[in-house]
């Protein structure tokens, strides 16, 4: 192992890093700490992954721990399950959101259920990293947000960092989890930077966080819609409206305590994600908030997200994707009620 320190922070001080780099550092820290951690997937070795998240890992940890696989997603996840049965902790990279579906059967019928099937005797500490979401002008299958399709299945945990610092900690926490974690990385923000202090105390993996306090409307977001919500909140502030933004961070389990607490104050709630609104995560959030904050709500919970159409060609994606204007339009509506 080339890093030497084995402490997990590589002895670094605070540093401005991109999310891709933060993930790389998080993977390194986990691999240094625990020799059973493996990284596997397509093009993750010499190339370092198409987003360079695994850059340098093959060189530093060798190809027994950084496994360039054949081109077969079911094979990647299926063999990761077998490796987990042997005591390894594989971290699988799926190249793009749209290519996770060949592995869907292994994920939902095997990975999600093996612990239950074996009455807890086989644990499945497998992480599946999925770069997700749009906004990068890509071709088909490279811009989708499939999180609801995983969160509906018990046995999986699903999380999504919205910034580099969370990414650094959350990937390590996901790897440490004895349960399988589907790890959604908002690809359009891979190159966004933040100040990372590896000596800081990490926030719990499955906890939501208020990332901007406010008083008029509660905006619930995760992954790529968090920066969006923050931008919308800035714009709203100029118009004299105060948005409270909650970053869910964990999609399953869902931590709605901060949302409910917030809605009890604001009486208004808007949920935003890139996935289609229909049966997207926002449906669950809206259903729960509507139930639990029934007497506090001054207006219906509104959802802002993708339309009920296939993710469109790149020149239409700015129309498809929720943007700050669409979010603010919903804010107007809940405030006008």
């Amino acid at each position: 192992m080339s890093q030497g320190t084995g402490t997990g922070d590589g002895g670094r001080g605070p540093e401005r890093v991109t999310m891709a780099r933060a993930l790389n550092l998080g993977l390194r820290a986990a691999m240094e700490r625990e020799p059973k951690v493996l990284v596997m997937g397509e093009d993750i070795g010499a190339l370092g992954g198409v987003f360079r998240v695994t850059e340098g890992l093959a060189k530093d940890f060798g190809e027994e721990r950084v496994v360039d696989t054949p081109l077969a997603e079911a094979g990647i996840v299926g063999t990761a399950i077998g490796l987990a049965m042997r005591g390894y902790r594989p971290v699988c990279e799926i190249q793009f959101d749209g290519f996770v579906f060949p592995a869907y059967d292994q994920i939902v019928t095997q990975l999600a259920k093996m612990t239950h099937r074996s009455r807890g005797t086989l644990t499945m500490p497998v992480v599946i990293r999925i770069p997700y979401g749009g906004g990068i002008g890509a071709v088909e299958h490279h811009s989708e947000s499939p999180e609801a399709l995983f969160a509906h299945h018990t046995g999986l945990r699903c999380v999504s960092p919205s910034n580099a610092v969370d990414a650094y900690w959350m990937i390590q926490q996901a790897i440490a989890s004895p349960d399988p974690v589907i790890f959604f990385e908002p690809k359009r923000h891979y190159w966004d930077k933040a100040e990372l202090d590896p000596s800081a105390e990490p926030y719990p993996l499955h906890r939501a966080r208020v990332v901007r306090p406010g008083t008029d409307v509660t905006v619930v977001a995760h992954g790529p819609t968090v920066p969006l919500a923050l931008r919308a909140a800035d714009a709203a502030a100029e118009e004299g409206r105060s948005l409270e933004v909650v970053d869910l961070r964990s999609i399953s389990p869902l931590d709605l305590a901060p949302v409910e607490e917030s809605v009890r104050r604001t009486g208004r709630c808007v949920v935003a994600h890139e996935a289609p609104v229909f049966l997207g995560l926002g449906a669950e959030v809206a259903a729960r908030v509507s139930e639990r904050c029934f007497y506090s709500l001054e207006a219906p919970v509104l959802r802002v997200g993708g339309f009920s159409v296939p993710y469109p060609a790149a020149r239409l994606e700015e129309e498809y994707l929720p943007d700050a204007d669409r979010l603010l339009e919903a804010v107007d509506r809940v405030l006008d009620t």
Binding site: L38, I81, G82, M85, Q106, Q110, H116, T154, R157, L254
Partner: protein
């Protein structure tokens, strides 16, 4: 041994198709016991002959015992299902030799990945059959100790386990437990699947991964010639063993009703795997004598004459004839085994009838390994709900 290649050779051509099967050609079938129990040598491959030669009379009696016990348990399970004590049963009838021969070729450190029909495999590895029946009773998903027995949970999604087996084997490699030459250390993995499963993408991806990394896995395909109602020719026009060559690793077809040959062939493949020489595909050519499961009605799709033909190649009769002829086994031995089987069967019956129903609310256990707030919330809600119902009959009952 033309008999066991017979079906493939006479495969009917689907009507939408044009020409004849390509590259079919007969494939050699390894056989060491003839259907009437004569021991024949296998001259092509001295290693196989050597493995078979290690089998003592005691070993062969042990194999018979394993096969007979498995069959007796199978009969009892079918009866229990008929009596409503099991929800379902998947009989292994006819496949005892393939299962016992292959499982007996494993070492304690090996790991086996069964489907839902490998009851004899499980028993050879020390799984209490009651733990198998708990699955079919609907009490749990199978209650045996995976680590102690080396037997993975039964896999019900066809083919899924072959990838797990391959991944496990990749882990064995990473643990340095192949090719050391230490017989107590070097390990391999057996991946069981059926003729129908050979069509699944997962199984073929397992072949890809196994060869890519030369993983120590032996793929054991029990070609029992039927996937529920679909004959093996719908899955492939050539012997399944031949599939391996297309992926660049060896494939062997063995008489699946010949326990000696199954043992020798799987042992050779297992030793190859443990030595770090990579995967092998073993196709045990056998026959599903019973229904697919107790829910099935094979009268709808296959002629009983086919079943009758295969009865003449019964794996137990074959080994019995061999033991009587060459190893002095007498009526007393077989009566002993039968008695032992009856004892096991009644013990099993009792165990099944005494199985407690799972605790109410236990469905919330083990959904996750670590605490999960939503599961706990629902568990609490459900407990309160049950408490609220307490005594009440149910309003629609």
């Amino acid at each position: 041994m033309t008999s066991s290649t017979g079906r493939t050779a006479t495969a009917s051509t689907p009507s939408a198709a044009g020409g004849a099967p390509a590259a079919a050609g007969p494939m050699h079938v390894v056989q060491m016991l003839t259907p009437d129990g004569r021991r024949v040598d296998h001259e092509e491959d001295p290693a196989l002959a050597a493995h078979a030669a290690t089998l003592t009379a005691e070993d062969l009696r042990g194999m018979y015992r394993d096969m007979a016990l498995a069959r007796r348990v199978d009969v009892e399970a079918t009866a229990l299902q008929r009596q409503g004590e099991l929800g379902l049963w998947a009989s292994l009838l006819g496949q005892e030799a393939a299962q016992v021969g292959s499982a007996r070729a494993t070492l304690p450190q090996d790991r086996l990945f069964p489907t839902y029909r490998e009851h004899a495999v499980a028993m050879v590895r020390g799984v209490d059959p009651a733990h198998v029946l708990s699955l079919f009773r609907g009490v749990d998903r199978g209650g045996w100790d995976v680590e102690a027995t080396g037997v993975s949970p039964y896999a019900l999604v066809i083919g899924s386990q072959t990838l797990h087996a391959t991944g496990y084997a990749m882990g064995v490699q990473r643990d340095g437990a192949v090719g050391t030459g230490d017989p107590a250390r070097d390990a391999c993995v057996l991946a069981y699947f059926g003729d129908g499963a050979s069509s699944q993408g997962d199984v073929n991806e397992a072949f890809v991964f196994a060869t890519a990394y030369q993983a120590p896995v032996v793929f054991v395909c029990q070609n029992n010639q039927w996937a529920i109602s679909v004959p093996a020719e719908r899955q492939t026009r050539v012997p399944i063993a031949q599939r391996a060559s297309g992926f660049g690793f060896p494939g062997v077809r063995v008489d699946g009703n010949d326990v000696v040959a199954c043992y020798a062939v799987v042992r050779a493949a297992a030793e190859r795997a443990r030595a770090g020489e990579g995967p092998t595909l073993v196709e045990a050519f056998t026959y599903r004598m019973g229904a697919h499961t107790t829910s099935d009605d094979p009268g709808r799709y296959r002629p009983s004459v086919e079943v009758e033909q295969w009865r003449a190649r019964d794996p137990l009769t074959r080994l019995e004839a061999h033991l009587r002829r060459d190893h002095g086994a007498d009526d007393a031995f077989f009566a002993d085994v039968a008695r032992e089987g009856d004892t096991a069967a009644s013990r099993l019956r009792r165990a099944v009838l005494e199985m407690p129903d799972p605790e109410p609310g236990s469905m919330f256990d083990h959904a996750y390994a670590a605490e999960h707030p939503q599961v706990e919330e629902e568990r609490a809600w459900y407990a309160a709900y049950l408490a609220g119902l307490d005594g009440e009959e149910g309003r629609t009952a």
